[in-house]
């Protein structure tokens, strides 16, 4: 197992290890809120970070499984391609922004703009998410076991949103959708993958695009 104590070694050394070396277990201690921890991994490393991280932890991750035993700053797992990222605490804004694939699990809360412009990633938040979450979300799935803030799914495309708690308000062109059997099945799978068993899929509502604003129509101008 490779070990990096970021009190002594640099983020550069850690990231260089994750770029091209043979996949294996990697332990990271004393991250101290540093930025860009474990970014750009290129293989199926198994990374455990013990402590809080700053901006962009696990950014553009591909293949690796990254666990943060602590809280994460803005832009966690931004543009992730594949792999898994789990945060035992809470995540700041822009969590999984533009991410294309893989699974992101937040055991606490996620701040505003969670899943902004998501492009295929699955995100499961055990707590609440802040305002403007899933803004311009293109594809992928966002599960929120708590509440969602203002303007959920504003200008959403084809992403699927599953919210268990209260939604403060829906953004432009986002609407509640029928929760059919296939959606419950998909949600069940997501919760299982995230290791969350205390909630029933029957407690969730599904939201997605009303598809009224896909092509510009002057009569819809006031909707934007």
């Amino acid at each position: 197992m490779a070990s990096f104590n970021l009190a002594d070694s640099t983020v550069r050394e850690l990231n260089q290890h994750l770029h091209g070396s043979v996949a294996g277990k990697v332990s990271v201690d004393n991250p101290g809120g540093k930025h860009s921890v474990a970014v750009g991994a290129t293989d199926a490393h198994d990374v455990e970070i013990n402590g809080n991280v700053g901006y962009y932890c696990a950014g553009m991750n591909a293949e690796a499984s990254i666990v943060v035993n602590g809280h994460a700053g803005p832009g966690l797992a931004e543009n992730m391609m594949s792999g898994r990222v789990r945060v035992t605490g809470s995540a700041s804004q822009y969590c999984a922004a533009t991410a294309h694939g893989g699974l992101v699990v937040i055991e606490g809360d996620a701040s505003s703009r969670c899943g902004i412009s998501m492009k295929g990633v699955d995100i499961v938040v055990k707590g609440n998410v802040g305002h403007m979450s899933a803004f311009m979300a293109q594809t992928g799935r966002l599960v929120v076991c708590g509440d969602a803030g203002d303007a959920l799914g504003d200008s959403i495309y084809e992403a699927q949103l599953y919210i268990r708690g209260n939604v403060e308000s829906l953004g432009a062109d986002c609407e509640e959708k029928e929760m059919r059997a296939e959606h419950k099945e998909a949600l069940r799978g997501l919760l299982e993958s995230a290791g969350i068993s205390e909630f029933s899929v029957d407690e969730f509502k599904r939201y997605g695009s009303a598809r009224k604003l896909y092509n510009f129509n002057i009569d819809n101008a006031s909707s934007y």
């Binding site: 930025h35 860009s36 962009y56 832009g75 931004e78 902004i116 412009s117 492009k119 092509n215 002057i218």
Partner: protein
């Protein structure tokens, strides 16, 4: 038939203005078009070179060397790129342009040893394969963004804005969202795509500094990182880009082109390229970073004269977009009949957003795209770049310079008070620079 020769046209309500009011009333939607600003604004035409005389001696045009090479990105990047000519190709997306056009641009740029740039839609294999040096744009939409392509790039350009629409996001209307374009952008086919105007995961220069550091970490500090801004508050924007860690700053003036933007945005937001160059150079000089962080200027570059004047004002290189498309074949009179069917004429065509380009450049229509031969079009672009370079060298030699970077503001004079004030060079025949003591 009414004799119109005696009719007096209103300067305020000209025929184009009247037509636009009528069009707005008919459709209820603002005019969206391509190309850049069309109105007359102070430009490089308003400057002249003083040339060598008693106090300067020129270089022989065909015998003495005038170097044109430029190294970009040697501030922090392990692998800066050295291009043979001080002219690069600006970012234009696959989606806005056909795959054939992107390939042609790659071919033409590579023949001349310079770089081309992706756009708001990711990197295509055609473009990467044909481009000796390819700059990968990092845009708010992040369409097609992935670490694999990031590592294939020769440089990364973080796009904060563009000259045609500082403060605006990209736009690609449904008729150009083909199956391939939709797949690359993770969007439903045929929708009107309106990209975000802000990046999704950073806000402001302090965040940008952290974002640039992340991009460097992902690419092992190998790639030069450019920051592109639309010309507006240029002095401050350049200062902040340098502070954020840019290797290269790209400043795009309001004449810069676009594939699709509201006309009101194109014509009324941003400042001309001329004052933007001066403001950018002053910012770099104040930071003692001139020539350490390279400055690329774009927006209305058409000739070697424009190139030489931008360099004389302190730019390290220029970038061309609209002119490159024209070199490929855009607005060619060969297709006059088809332009007429679209309600326009060669030389006026700007409806890039419609995807009906008869030449096969700004379209995703397979039949139209097939009209553009990437090899022949690439050769035309290379020819054009060659002419720009030769013209630039001609002017530099006339001023006695053995490298185009040795051109300086002292080689210039302004023909108008406005240009003198904006460019910061004296009005011709005087020592007067308006606005300066």
């Amino acid at each position: 038939m009414v004799d119109k020769s005696w009719l007096k046209e209103s300067a305020t309500f000209s025929r184009p203005v009247i037509r636009e009011i009528q069009r707005a009333a008919e459709t209820g939607i603002y005019d969206i078009r391509g190309f850049g600003a069309k109105r007359s604004i102070p430009h490089f035409d308003d400057l002249v070179f003083l040339g060598a005389s008693m106090s300067r001696y020129p270089l022989e045009g065909y015998r003495e060397t005038c170097d044109t090479s430029v190294t970009l990105g040697n501030r922090f990047a392990k692998n800066p790129i050295t291009i043979d000519i001080p002219i690069t190709i600006a970012g234009m997306s696959f989606g806005a342009l056909s795959a054939q056009a992107k390939e042609a641009i790659g071919r033409g740029a590579s023949q001349m040893g310079t770089c081309t740039t992706t756009g708001d839609g990711g990197m295509t294999p055609e473009e990467r394969g044909q481009s000796k040096y390819l700059v990968y744009q990092y845009l708010p939409s992040r369409y097609g963004m992935n670490p694999e392509d990031l590592r294939k790039a020769d440089a990364i350009e973080v796009v904060v804005g563009q000259g045609a629409k500082p403060g605006g996001g990209g736009m690609l209307l449904g008729q150009k969202i083909s199956e391939r374009v939709a797949e690359m952008r993770d969007l439903p086919q045929g929708i009107d795509q309106r990209s975000a105007c802000r990046h999704p995961d950073w806000t402001g220069p302090d965040d940008l500094e952290i974002k640039i550091a992340e991009l460097r970490e992902i690419t092992d500090w190998e790639k030069p990182i450019f920051v592109k801004v639309g010309a507006a508050r240029t002095f401050y924007d350049v200062t902040l880009a340098v502070k954020a860690g840019a290797d290269v700053v790209v400043v795009d003036g309001m004449q810069g082109g676009t594939a699709a933007t509201q006309d009101v945005f194109i014509e009324h937001v941003g400042i001309p390229t001329l004052p933007a160059v001066r403001a950018a150079v002053e910012a770099l000089q104040e930071l003692d970073m001139h020539r350490k962080v390279q400055l690329i200027v774009s927006g209305g570059i058409r000739s070697g004269a424009d190139v030489a004047k931008a360099l004389a004002m302190g730019a390290d290189a220029v970038s061309i977009g609209t002119a490159a498309l024209i070199a490929l074949g855009d607005n060619n009179e060969t297709y006059e009949d088809e332009y007429n069917k679209l309600g326009t004429s060669a030389g006026f065509y700007d409806d890039y957003q419609d995807g009906k380009d008869p030449v096969g450049i700004s379209t995703q229509d397979p039949a139209l795209s097939a009209r553009l031969d990437p090899v022949a079009a690439g050769r035309r672009l290379a020819n054009y770049l060659n002419v720009l370079t030769l013209e630039t060298q001609t002017l530099a030699r006339a001023c006695g310079k053995s490298h185009v970077h040795n051109l300086e503001p002292e080689d210039l004079a302004a023909l108008t008070i406005e240009a003198a004030a904006m460019a910061g060079v004296p009005l011709a025949g005087t020592q007067w620079i308006p606005g300066r003591l």
